[in-house]
């Protein structure tokens, strides 16, 4: 029996309470989701696209769901004690799935820009929700349907036509619960024609000993000439599981720069699906993973070139230590309707211990002759010659290793569009490679909360 069943049962027994804690527009989507889940199951190792990660197993344990929306206190200062140094952002915080804007956010958002609770936006701006929510992600997908069935709130970022945000928006996801908890998280990012925004998302946990599970669905629509920088940092804990599905639709001449950094997690399965549906759209998808202990990090990408003259590039770097396991399953599909496509992919990996594992699988499906495509995948160790060279100059072995691993990540970090975030990532990567927890907790700068 699928691990979905417990959620279906939970819904059947509690759908009234669930609906009460949400908005009518969202509640109206649940019956279709329930129907999609009947007889369905989550991705498992018998599925080709999920060969090394069982999402079924991630969802099998009995987590609690906060349907009654009991207010769980969270010490935000302790969990997320720092801002991005030298980077002033407009911040919103999601505790489990509750959205809380910060005081500066409410006052400083430009006219017409929305960065708010999905539940609230569903009531105040139903037109936006009706137009986009569950229109970008496939409703028949079991993960999306489960999220739709269980979601009560979420976050909407909406930037109207030709509005360019000067300040990055920052979304801080925090898990906090006295008992094991599953949260259905939703993020909807809409950039209308000519809009421009940078969004930083980071995942944290209040208590590293508690077990958390995130079902996370992100839908992104980029209008003509829109430009989005989306930078996701996962700084959770070994007992946290995350199933994150991101769906993007890009119209003519739009730009996406999406970076994902796995700095700390338990089990993570990411699915990035990008549909290039307007000509001259550009998509840059980068990721880095630092695996330690028994972490499991799986990034599954699908960039679908559906029209002519689009450009995509995927760059992923993994350094896996301990007994961790990494997966990169990188898809590019060039349809017959997409001549003059340029699509690149590169996945390089370092195994830092004998017990670490890496699976790299480039998947290119090209149904058109007029394309320029390339892919490359390597799995290896740190360069011993470089290590000796550095030691012979007096650099201690441990420090030399950190420098080499940092250097390995350098080209991915360089793709991040915000300079202060690049500095922050370099610092976090250095801490992580030095064997320290890469969390914001060590920083001294307080938030404005």
């Amino acid at each position: 029996m699928s691990s979905l069943q417990q959620y279906i049962d939970l819904y059947r027994d509690n759908h009234e309470a669930l609906d009460r804690g949400s908005a009518p527009l969202l509640n109206a989507m649940r019956p279709a989701a329930l129907k999609a889940l009947e007889g369905a199951r989550l991705p498992d190792t018998c599925d080709e696209r999920s060969q090394y990660t069982s999402v079924e197993q991630m969802f099998a344990p009995d987590y609690g769901v906060n349907i009654a929306r009991v207010n769980i206190p969270v010490d935000i200062a302790a969990t997320f004690a720092c801002n991005l140094p030298n980077l002033s952002t407009l911040m919103g915080i999601v505790v489990n799935d509750f959205f809380t804007p910060t005081s500066t956010l409410v006052n400083r958002l430009p006219q017409g820009v929305i960065f708010d609770s999905l539940r609230k936006v569903a009531t105040e701006h139903p037109d936006i929700i009706e137009k986009y929510l569950n229109k970008i992600a496939p409703q028949t997908d079991s993960g999306v349907a489960l999220n739709t069935l269980m979601m009560q709130d979420g976050v909407v970022i909406y930037v109207p036509q030709h509005v360019e945000l000067a300040k990055p928006l920052q979304l801080v996801n925090i898990f906090s619960s006295p008992t094991p908890l599953m949260a259905a998280r939703r993020l909807l990012i809409i950039l209308e024609d000519g809009a421009k925004a940078d969004v930083v998302v980071c995942d944290h946990t209040q208590d590293d000993a508690q077990q958390y599970l995130a079902s996370q669905v992100t839908e992104i629509s980029l209008g003509r000439d829109a430009s989005l920088g989306l930078y996701t940092l996962e700084e959770a804990s070994l007992r946290t599981s995350r199933y994150a599905q991101t769906y993007v639709k890009q119209h003519d001449n739009s730009r996406l720069n999406h970076h994902y950094a796995a700095l700390a997690t338990g089990v993570t399965r990411n699915e990035f699906t990008v549909d290039l549906i307007g000509e001259h759209a550009e998509s840059l998808l980068t990721g880095m993973a630092i695996g330690m202990d028994r972490e499991h990090i799986d990034c599954n990408t699908a960039i679908n070139h559906r029209v002519a003259r689009c450009h995509s590039n995927q760059v992923f770097r993994y350094v896996m230590g301990g007994t961790s396991e990494g997966v990169f399953d990188g898809g590019i599909v060039v349809t017959p309707e997409a001549p003059y496509t340029v699509a690149y992919q590169s996945n390089r990996n370092v195994l830092a211990t004998a017990e670490a594992r890496m699976h790299s699988k480039p998947r290119l499906e090209i149904y058109n002759d007029e394309v320029k495509c390339s892919h490359g995948a390597t799995i290896g160790q740190l360069n011993e010659e470089a290590l000796f060279y550095m030691r012979s100059r007096g650099i201690p072995a441990a420090e030399a290793r950190v420098m080499l691993m940092q250097a390995f990540m350098a080209d991915v970090i360089d793709t991040v569009g915000l300079e202060s975030l690049r500095d922050r990532l370099r610092h976090l990567v250095e801490m992580r490679f030095s064997g320290q927890a890469a969390t914001c907790r060590r920083c001294s700068e307080p938030t404005d909360n």
């Binding site: 000796f388 060279y389 550095m390 012979s392 350098a410």
Partner: protein
Amino acid sequence: MEYTDNDMSDNLLLDVKDLHASIEGKEILKGINLQVRPGEVHAIMGPNGSGKSTLSEVLAGDPAFTVTGGEVDFHGMDLLSLSPEDRSHEGLFLSFQYPVEIPGVSMVNFMRAALNAKRKYFGEDPMSAGDFLKLMRQKRAIVELDNKLASRSVNEGFSGGEKKRNEIFQMAVLEPRLSILDETDSGLDIDALRIVAGGVNKLRSDDNSTIVITHYQRLLDYIKPDFVHILYNGRIVMTGGPELALELEERGYDWIKEAN
């Protein structure tokens, strides 16, 4: 940089006694004996495969080699018991025959890490950013190393000559007591050779010593040796003055091979 002076062994800087070393079970060094005093320049010559580079790498502590016998005293310290980084701190420097490219690690970070590791070893605070940059400028001038190279990744995209100049630049920064130059002349045109050799000569003093490993007499026109050793089949088979290098240039290595 202050050095602790624990030189006890008859004013010898380096004393190699019956050194044996192997790689993957194959013995390369078969009993090397070599004594170097402060201020001396020694040239080690010999045909390909005689063990010249192995000797330099074993002295620098390359973990690829296994020392199977003998001992090495380095100004009163048991060199073979030290890690490569501590050998560097104690004043040993190897100029690599093939300097390694390290993409993503900038020359500046590389040198700062090296210099500050040494300072830490001697209980000193890290160098200030201003002093560090001043030092880099000074030392770059010795080998006419372009500032642009200094801002790039270590050796990445450097020409052969630039890599060798970069080695001597690093040597200038680290101020070693003993420098081992492993075929520093290979791949250099005559102008680059003059610059590199000029750099080495500028760094010479009565206190520090140099071991020059080379195939050719040519480099020894620029860096004048006090002693010339011939290494053949893992042993030093002949030692003489500078005239030995000239004799080798004239007669080749065959007479050495025949005599041994």
